[in-house]
Amino acid sequence: MIGVQVQAATSAGLSWPVAFTEFEPDSVHRSAAPRVVGRAKSLRMTAPSPKRDSLLLRIASGDADAVGACLDRYGSLVWSVVKRAWNDAATVEDVVQEIFIDVWNSAARFDPEKASEATFIATIARRRVIDRRRRAGRAPVEEPVEEVEMSFEDRGLSGVDMGDEARLAREALEALKPDQRRVILMSVVDGLTHSEIATATGLPLGTVKSHIRRGLEQTAQELRAARERTR
């Protein structure tokens, strides 16, 4: 029956809107000051004013001009998260594309009271990476993250808008002992399981778990306090 109904709907000449007819495939918008692509932009030490400058809220409201700005601001962040999981450039590009499509789709869910844009986008990126790795049959990253004592600038982060929350998270972990910090990074950045970390470090499983819990609680506490300060 439904086939007949569908045919009836189409043959009746009902007009199905073309969602993207306003789009001209070859016209990529450029503002008065051309957007720079393909290289890192200037250092941005603090997050933009959450509500007034929220690119995601602009995107959610249908402001297509915010798309390029969002890519400028967070393209390197997403690319770097994904690139850590795969060496293959084609896969990295695919996953980055999926993530940004998800970001456009999810922009209306962004709530600056809960997280910064960088955190929101990194969350989407992490979910997608975790999901893809599960589908593909998960394998740990080849080069686990090393203990890094350099500043953001020294580590090449000067081209990325990390936002205040990343800095707070970093400071929260810096307050921990090096072995605690290492365990947390093996879990969060490298995506290793508790057991894998215990094997790699020789630490008891319970210690691994408590290190991770403490680090995450510490970080969340800092983030929460920062949000409450800005309210």
């Binding site: 995107i59 959610a60 594309q97 955190t119 580590r155 950045v189």
Partner: protein, 256 residues
């Protein structure tokens, strides 16, 4: 402010850490949802993201070509976001003909402020998952696909099974045309009668690809809970799917 996760027991913390590092299967994800407050889980996950962001190394910019492509895709999607769905307000049609004639479907997931957790079925063979679901679900909905006149659907058949209790389902296709994921992807739309403005705002059931030859089973990946599905529809969309479907290419439907 909700009670934060400092009060979680060890099992809850273990599940949450696993969820946000390597992912959980459906059963464990459902357990975690029961054990933990959603706002607490969000906060916990945000800590993962902030730590990760703060400890990135070897940061580099994406290739220019990719940025340009992403901007093009983003502009397409954003341009489609606010458009047609609201024009449907006040409409009372309830049968599938009317729904299929609707002036644009806006994915319900895009229209609400909700933090959806990843529920993508992972880690198991969809064919086996389907068989298991059919064997155990007491509320199973099973509907055959009906092909439209779209060339991709020529000779295509199959069915969709869905369990509202488990929030899980599978699509089975035979002879549905293979797609080139760089050109287009199939996208499922689920019409849930319990949702406000459900005829214009179906739930995005996820994008998927079809390889050449044989039978294909695809796990449904709804972005929101689907409580009372009355119509499933598959469209062809740009890679990654869309928020608003113009339904230029509706290929299959399955209606109660």
């Amino acid at each position: 402010m909700s009670a934060h996760f400092a009060s979680w027991d060890e099992r809850t913390v273990d599940l949450a850490v696993e969820q946000f590092t390597v992912g959980l299967d459906h059963e464990d994800a459902a357990t975690l949802d029961r054990l933990a407050d959603r706002a607490d889980l969000e906060e916990f996950e945000n800590a993962f993201a902030a730590i990760h962001t703060g400890h990135l190394t070897d940061v580099e910019a994406p290739p220019t070509e990719l940025l340009l492509r992403l901007e093009r895709l983003g502009r397409q999607q954003v341009a489609g976001n606010g458009a047609p769905a609201d024009s449907a307000a006040g409409r009372t049609a309830t049968d599938s003909t009317a729904i299929l004639a609707w002036t644009g479907w806006l994915a319900a997931a895009a229209a609400i402020l909700m933090f959806a957790f990843p529920q993508t079925p992972t880690g198991s063979d969809p064919g086996e998952g389907r068989s298991a679901l059919v064997a155990r679900a007491g509320d199973l909905l099973e509907i055959n696909w009906t092909a439209t006149e779209d060339p991709a659907a020529s000779g295509a058949s199959g069915d969709v099974v869905w369990s509202a209790a488990e929030q899980r389902g599978y699509m089975r296709f035979r002879d549905l045309a293979a797609n080139d994921p760089t050109e287009s992807q199939y996208q499922l739309w689920i019409f849930d009668k319990t949702r406000a403005d459900w005829e214009a705002k179906p739930v995005d059931g996820g994008v998927f690809d079809v390889s050449p030859g044989g039978e294909v089973v695809v796990a449904i990946d709804p972005k929101l809970d689907v409580r009372d599905a009355v119509l499933f529809a598959v469209t062809v969309e740009v890679p990654g799917g869309v928020v608003v479907s113009g339904r230029e290419r509706l290929v299959l439907t399955a209606a109660l």
